[in-house]
Subunit: 492 residues, 2 copies
C-alpha cells in the first residue's frame, strides 16, 4: 500500500490490475486463470448478490442448484451451444489418485479410475438443466418454470484478467420455460430490464440496452439481449445478457408439454446471467488514480470514522463521541466502521480507506471535541469539510445519496460524450484512434461486413440499440442500405 | 404426490428417499452421485445459510472465494490430507473438446489439450487456501485470519444418497490462522459451539459435542471436534466438524509470521464445515409417515392459507379476510403464503402442504366468514382447531414458537431415551440389535480395539463427549483400563 498506484493516463491496464490487488479485491491464484476473491472484494459481490437476488424473487423466480458436471453426451445435445463452448471446457476424465510408484511421496492419476463418460465442468448450465426440466414439465399447469442458480462456472480462456475474464467465475444463471414464444420473449426482455435497473441504480453505471448481432449471440440462442457499458478508457463492456432460446433446448432435450388444447408442444426458453465480471465494470467506471471509488449502495462500509489522538485519554473522549455517531448512523441503516486500530497511524488509515473507496470518512480530533464538530472527507470528489456533530446524521444520509447520484451522472456524461455518429469509414477509423467510445454508424446487416470491420479496426458491434431514433441510411463500410445505426466499439 | 409414502416402519431408507423426492427437496441427476436441489429444498438451505452466515459474521469472520481447482502439486503438499482424499478426487486432465473425426456431430476430448499438471476438483480447500495465506501473513499484525467460504466441493463417493452423501455437495468451510496454539484451539471450540447452537436453535435437533478419535479425525487435523445427532432409526449422523489443524498446513505451505518478539514462527490453523448433509439430518429428525415436518425457523412458508369455496363470490369474500391475515402476519415477520391456485382442489393443497411440512395451515371457508373464525391445522401434531380471527396474530406467533420448542423436546426425549450405558460386549451387541441409538461404553483408547469393534458390529465411536461425568472403568471389549465412556453408534 506504500507505493503509489500507476495512473490511468500512464497505463490504464496496469492501473486496473494494480488497483484490484492493492485495494484487496482479488488476486491471481496458483491455478492458471483462476482468481482468489479477497474478503473486501467478496463483500462487494455479496451486496450485489443480495440486491439481484431480491429483484429475481420479486419477479417470481426461485433459486435451485444443479450439478457442476455435465456428461459429454448431454453437453453435445444442443449442437450450437456445444460448438460455442467446446474449445474452452475443463474436462474431468478420472476419479481417483494413487501413490506414484516412481516418485515416493507423490501422487498420480490412477489409470484404472477412468470415467466411462467424460464430465464437462459446466461453462453454462443449459444442458444439465434442460435435461432436468424434462422431468418437471408435463402440462401447461407446470409452466412457467422460473429458476435461478448462483454458481461457479469454468471457461478455459487463454487470456485472463482479474474479474473481467477468468477461467472460473461466479455468476447467476436464470433458466426459464414457458408455454408460448411471446411469454419467453417477454421474460428475456424483463430480465434484461432488471439487469439495466440494477446496474444503473446500484452500480451507478449507465447502460445501453440492445440486441446482439447474430455473430455475437449466445451459442444456442435465437436472440440475445444485452446491456452495454462504457469504461473510462473508452472501451465497452458487456455487463449482462438475456437470451431468448426459442425451442432449441426443448427440442434437443425433448421437453414437451400438453398445452391447453391437450396437444403436445415443445416449451419456449430463456436464460440470462451476470457474473463477477460486473466487479470489473464497477471498478473501471468510477475509480481514479487514488484508488477505488465505490457507489454508497454497494460499499461494504459507507462511512468510516478515524480517531485522531495523542493520549489514551483523548482516545477515550473521542470514542465516546464516535459511539454516539455509530449508533445514530446504524439506526439509519448506514454501514459504518470505527477504525480504532492501534497498529496503524491515522495517515495510513486515510490512505487505506481512500484506496479502498470508502465513500465518506469522518475524522474526529481533540479540537473537534471542543468545537462539537467532525471533518468529513468525500472519496469521489476528494473534498473535505468541517461540520457540526449536531445534525450529522441527516448530513451523512444526504451526502451518500448525493454521491450515488453524482457518480451515475458523471459516468452518464462521460458515456454520452463518447458516442460519436460517423458516416464514413475514415471517420470511423479516426474516432477509434483518437476519441474511442461508442461509434454510432450504419451497417448493412451482414456478417461479412461485421467481420471485415472487426478485422480492420478491432471494433465489434456491441449492440443494436433498443431505444433511440430509428432512421435508414447507408452502411459505413459497403455503402449498402442500412435500416438503422448500430453501436460499434472496442470491447473488454 | 398421489401415491402414499412408504412408512418408516416398513422401510426407513425407502421412506427417506421417497420423501426427499416427493416433497420436492431434491432428486438424482444425470451425473452419477450428483443431486439437483429443487427450489423448495434450496429455499430451506438458503434459510440455513442466512442464519449460519450471520453467526459467522457476528464471530468476526469474513467471506472470500478460492478456486475450484487445486493443482496436484499443491494437493499433495500436506501428506495426510492428500492421502485422506486421494481416493475420491475428480480430476481435470484436459481443457478442450473437438469434433470427433469418427463420429459426425459428436465431440471428443482433444488429445492435444492435455494440462501440464492435473487439477483436482476441491474435495476441501485447505491446500489452495493455505497456499494463498502464505502471501497474506507476514507479521502477527496480520493475524488472526478469519475466513469463510460458501462453495461446492466434490468427493467421488461410491455409495451416494440424496443430501446425506453426494459426489458434489454445497457447504461452507471456515479457514483460520492464528498466532498461538491456544488461540487456534479456542477458535475450533468456538465454531463447534456455533454449530451446536445453530443446529439446536434453528434445526431443533439436539446434538452431543465431542472429540473424534484419532482414526475418525479429519485428514491433516490434530484434533477434530464434532456435533453428533441421532436419527429416528437410531443411527447417528455427524452434523458438523471443526478441526484444530496444529501447524500442519502452515508447515506444508511454509506460512510463517514474525511474532511479537520478532522471531519467525509457523501459524496455527483451524478449519470447520457444515454442508447440505444437514438437510438430511433435518428431514430424518422430525418427519413422519405423512411427509416432511419442518421447524418454523427454517420453513420457507411458516403458514399457508387455503380458501375453501364454491363460488367466485365466496372466494372474493374469503380473499378479503385472507388479505387482512396475510398483512398482519407479515407485519410480524411471519412468512405466509396464500394458496389461491385455481388448478388444485383444497384436498390436493392440504396433501401437498402436509407432505412439504408447512408448520401451520389455515383453512377459511364460507361458514368461517359468518362466524369470524378460521381452522388452524398443526403439521407436527396433525391436530386441528377452530379459532377466532380476532387475536389470530398472537395465536399464530405463539403456536410457531410452541412447535419449534416441541420439535426440539421431542427429538431430545428420543435421543436421551436412546443412549444406553453398557458394561459388557454382549450387552453392547444386544443393544445394537434391538434398540440401536448411542451406546455409552468404556474403551481402552486404542485404534486396534476401535477397529475390532467396528469390524464385529459396524458401530463406530461417534465421539468422546466433551460434557457429562468422567469416570474411569474397563474397556467393554478388552477389559483394559479406560479413562472415560465414549459414544458408539452405527452412523450415516
Amino acid at each position: 500500500m506504500s507505493k503509489k498506484l500507476t495512473s490511468r493516463a500512464e497505463d490504464y491496464s496496469k492501473w486496473y490490475n494494480e488497483l484490484v490487488v492493492k485495494a484487496d479485491l482479488a488476486e491471481n491464484s496458483a491455478v492458471r486463470g483462476c482468481m482468489v476473491i479477497k474478503p473486501y472484494g467478496y463483500a462487494i459481490w455479496e451486496k450485489m448478490q443480495a440486491e439481484l437476488d431480491k429483484m429475481f424473487k420479486e419477479t417470481g423466480h426461485q433459486n435451485a442448484y444443479f450439478p457442476l458436471f455435465v456428461p459429454k453426451s448431454l453437453f453435445e445435445a444442443e449442437e450450437k451451444n456445444a460448438e460455442g463452448f467446446a474449445k474452452e471446457c475443463a474436462i474431468v476424465t478420472h476419479y481417483r489418485l494413487q501413490n506414484d510408484p516412481d516418485k515416493p511421496g507423490k501422487l498420480r492419476v490412477d489409470p484404472e479410475a477412468k470415467l466411462e463418460e467424460e464430465l464437462i465442468v459446466r461453462p453454462t448450465s443449459e444442458a444439465i438443466i434442460w435435461n432436468t426440466f424434462r422431468g418437471w414439465v408435463q402440462s401447461y399447469r407446470d409452466l412457467p418454470l422460473l429458476i435461478n442458480q448462483w454458481a461457479n462456472v469454468v471457461r478455459w480462456e487463454m487470456r485472463t484478467r482479474l474479474f473481467l475474464r477468468t477461467a472460473e467465475f461466479l455468476w447467476q444463471e436464470g433458466h426459464t420455460a414457458h408455454e408460448t414464444k411471446q411469454e419467453a420473449i417477454t421474460e428475456a426482455e424483463l430480465m434484461n430490464n432488471v439487469y439495466a435497473t440494477f446496474v444503473e441504480k446500484f452500480m451507478a453505471i449507465p447502460v445501453i440496452q440492445g440486441l446482439k448481432t447474430e455473430s455475437e449471440r449466445f451459442a444456442g440462442a435465437d436472440e440475445t439481449y444485452c446491456i452495454e457499458a462504457l469504461m473510462q478508457d473508452g472501451k465497452a463492456l458487456q455487463a449482462g445478457t438475456s437470451h431468448f432460446l426459442g425451442q432449441n433446448f426443448a427440442k434437443a432435450f425433448d421437453v414437451k408439454f400438453a398445452n391447453k388444447e391437450g396437444k403436445q408442444d415443445y416449451v419456449w426458453a430463456t436464460s440470462w446471467g451476470v457474473s463477477t465480471r460486473l466487479m470489473g465494470a464497477l471498478i473501471m467506471t468510477h475509480s481514479d488514480d487514488h484508488g477505488l471509488v465505490l457507489p454508497p449502495s454497494l460499499a461494504p462500509n459507507q462511512v468510516v470514522i478515524v480517531p485522531i489522538y495523542k493520549s489514551e485519554e483523548d482516545l477515550n473522549a473521542i470514542t465516546e463521541v464516535a459511539n454516539g455517531i455509530l449508533s445514530d448512523l446504524r439506526g439509519k441503516n448506514i454501514t459504518v466502521k470505527y477504525d480504532n486500530r492501534t497498529t496503524r497511524r491515522p495517515g495510513a488509515k486515510f490512505a487505506q480507506h481512500e484506496l479502498q473507496g470508502v465513500p465518506l470518512r469522518i475524522a474526529i480530533g481533540t479540537r473537534d471535541l471542543a468545537n462539537g464538530t467532525v471533518e468529513i472527507a468525500r472519496r469521489d470528489t476528494l473534498t473535505k469539510e468541517v461540520v457540526a456533530i449536531d445534525g450529522l446524521n441527516d448530513k451523512i444520509e444526504g451526502l451518500l445519496a448525493e454521491i450515488q447520484e453524482s457518480l451515475f451522472n458523471k459516468a452518464l456524461d462521460f458515456r454520452n460524450g463518447h458516442i460519436t455518429e460517423v458516416d464514413t469509414f475514415d471517420e470511423f477509423k479516426t474516432v477509434l484512434e483518437t476519441k474511442t467510445g461508442f461509434i454510432s454508424a450504419h451497417w448493412d446487416g451482414t456478417n461479412e461486413t461485421e467481420d471485415k470491420i472487426k478485422e480492420l479496426t478491432k471494433a465489434t458491434i456491441r449492440c443494436i440499440p433498443l431505444e433511440g431514433e430509428v432512421k435508414e441510411g447507408v452502411c459505413v463500410y459497403t455503402g449498402n442500405p442500412s435500416k438503422r445505426r448500430v453501436l460499434f466499439a472496442k470491447a473488454y
